[in-house]
Symmetry: none
Subunit: 232 residues, 4 copies
DNA sequence: AATGAATGAGTGTTCATTCAT
DNA sequence: CATGAATGAACACTCATTCAT
């Protein structure tokens, strides 16, 4: 994670928590997958994201994947297990940018100003969303209905990310770059703005009407001024 | 809409677009509903919001409502019609604060500063969300899966609100209270912040840890500074 | 139970344990059954007894009953519940001849000799088996595979019958009509002989080659001599 | 078969019907079995006897046997063939005690009294049941559902045994040791008593409460007196 | 207006069996 | 000989919807 904008897999030169390595390894078992299994997952992602989990049928997935219905259940005990096998790994990837041991050092070395940090995060997550949009959509729709998802998210993701993010915020508050309001509140305001950007980009506005560079600039300036220490 | 914080129904002393009146009337047919029908709707809201539309069964709704399975279909031709009867009226209510003919006049008369306007909107929508949380949840989950919902939302709601909202933004930009960036972008940043507030309040944070007054203040100040005209 | 050979329902002039009445009542809810439900039960009995429970499919039962497959599950939550609804009541009927309060009195009044008692029991159970043969067959095949059946049988049937039967045996032993060996052993030898008779009659021998009167006589004489007190 | 209580394999010094030899040979192909095949048969016996044939799945058997699902079908074309390969040999063993050419001679030489003969048979079959209990259970449960089993049993077993058994009965009737009633009826009464003993021993009574010696004595005395020629 | 029995298409899942490796 | 991925028919069961009462 020399650069937040780089893919996690490419940053093995940096200290990574060993448990993350484990998680990533588990995730990357993609290679042991059968051809048919890969097709099943692809079909499932498409259909789940289009119709929702409960609204999709395994027979439809099998058909789109070009396999027999039984084949799905050879690889996933239940339809739900198929869902989780798609969505759970995403959570690991979600925390990737923060999955670094010496977070403060990274901040100091690579991101001296809030602006640089925010821009890195924004661009990085924008890229991430572009790449994994359908899975993210599935995830966001299903999380209210599946306890396991919710718990896994809270435990392994939210806590992990929040801790590091608060650290970053306090780091910049200490440096006089951010106003001294509660870190969770700062966090909320930053995240709202970035997620608002992502949603607008991927759900609401047709690509043709979207000037990404400019919108990123506006958003970051909005956050920077919104959270700048008040003068006088 | 003398005060945005007042209930729409209470503002009949103000000029209301006639089509809105129609919509509200349609919505208020609640009174013609039989006891059983009301129980069906209540049960449906609970179950839909808990399990999602596709994950709920009409028999479960009937059971929770204490009616026979057939009774649901006496009032609603299909399960989907039941969903729409719940969700569609909400959209009307959503646009209520903007459903005023002479919007600029209202702004000038009641909300001379951006802050006043933002605070009114925020408090008002917070109240709205508190009241209609389950239905909003249903709405947000189902909108990607139902063309009718999406279209109705775009046509009768989004457009209507956007137009008025842009007008308000330009009004305050003209008055030098807001930075001169594209109205849609300003809109996005404002709405992101407010929705982020609502989501944090209703989905993420336990009530005990939430100081509403403060969070509202932080949010409004964030927006105000974020969108303040840059000095020099 | 003035006469063991009479149907239980016909003996209301005799004291019957109240719990038995309850059981019989529950069982006789046949009257509240739909036409279709009765047909389902009939079809299920036929098919279960022909192919065994696990070897029968609900679709086959539905077809033979002339109903839609869903109809079965409207009346019985699961296939197993259908099985139990068929088999469980049989157990109650099985104990009917012993379901009398003052068993010793009945013995003294109606069956002064072992022979009379044995003959009554034999004829009565032969009649019972003739009537309920398919259900008995189902019961005997399924009891090893269903804990509920086993437990219900042990608790409500075996114990109930054994107690009374032992009483009868000791009654006749006291009167010098039976050899003084342990009641359970006597019981085993009697029951083996009678069940052997039933099985031979209903499973092994074609009706044409069977002289029922004679076989009953042989069997009862066999038991009487086998259990007669040894002379000197 | 010098002694009925001895294992069949140990009696090769006695004249054996050649067809039996063939059957035993077929059965003893156990030695040509691979390790895996033996494990499959063992697993199948356990699972079939626990859940019944129709209630067991080949995948479960494969799992318990520690082999791949396909391996079963390398050795047995179908699930049913596996069943038959387990159950059919048992039938051969069942008739073993009677599989002797010169049956009457054996009776005269080794079992001069009915009591000796009955005791030998009883002890021998009790031992047999103890050894092969699970397979016997499978056999008894499946015989009503499989024509092949039924026919094989009738043709090669029942007839074979019956013939010899009737011969034995008539032999003892001729000697004045048994009452002169039809041989099939005598047979039925004897077999009922012995099977009743076996069932009580292996299915109903916990070992702790069972005094085998005594129960055998009671049973044999019961049969002897039950079938003793009536005096005057 | 309300019921609840009935439907039959559809659900997720299991099954015995096949076959390329 | 052994594997295990793949199959597709069958399975028990659920569903939204209909309709006679």
């Amino acid at each position: 994670m020399r650069r937040l904008t780089e893919e996690v897999n490419a940053v093995s030169d940096i200290a990574i928590d060993p448990w993350l390595k484990e998680l990533l390894r588990l995730n990357d078992e993609e290679e042991k997958m059968t051809d048919k299994q890969i097709k099943i997952v692809q079909a499932a992602v498409e259909i789940f994201s289009e119709k929702g989990f409960a609204g999709s049928s395994t027979s439809e997935i099998a058909q789109k994947a070009g396999v027999a219905e039984g084949t799905i259940f050879r690889h996933y005990k239940t339809k739900k297990e198929l869902l989780l096998s798609i969505v759970a790994p995403m959570m690991t990837k979600l925390i990737a940018p923060f999955a670094v041991k010496d977070f403060t050092k990274v901040l100091e070395a690579d991101y001296p100003t809030v602006e640089q940090f925010l821009r890195a995060i924004t661009v990085n997550r924008l890229e991430f969303a572009r790449k994994h949009f359908p899975v993210i959509k599935i995830f966001m729709h299903e999380i209210p209905f599946h306890k396991e998802l919710r718990e896994q998210f809270k435990e392994t993701v939210a806590d992990m990310v929040l801790e590091k993010a608060y650290k970053a915020i306090r780091h910049f508050q200490g440096g006089g770059q951010l106003i001294e309001i509660p870190a969770p509140t700062s966090m909320r305001l930053i995240v709202s703005s970035i997620i608002g950007l992502l949603i607008t980009r991927f759900l609401l506005v047709p690509e043709s009407e979207w000037d990404e560079e400019k919108e990123i600039d506006y958003t970051i300036n909005f956050i920077l001024h919104g959270l700048a220490p008040r003068k006088s």
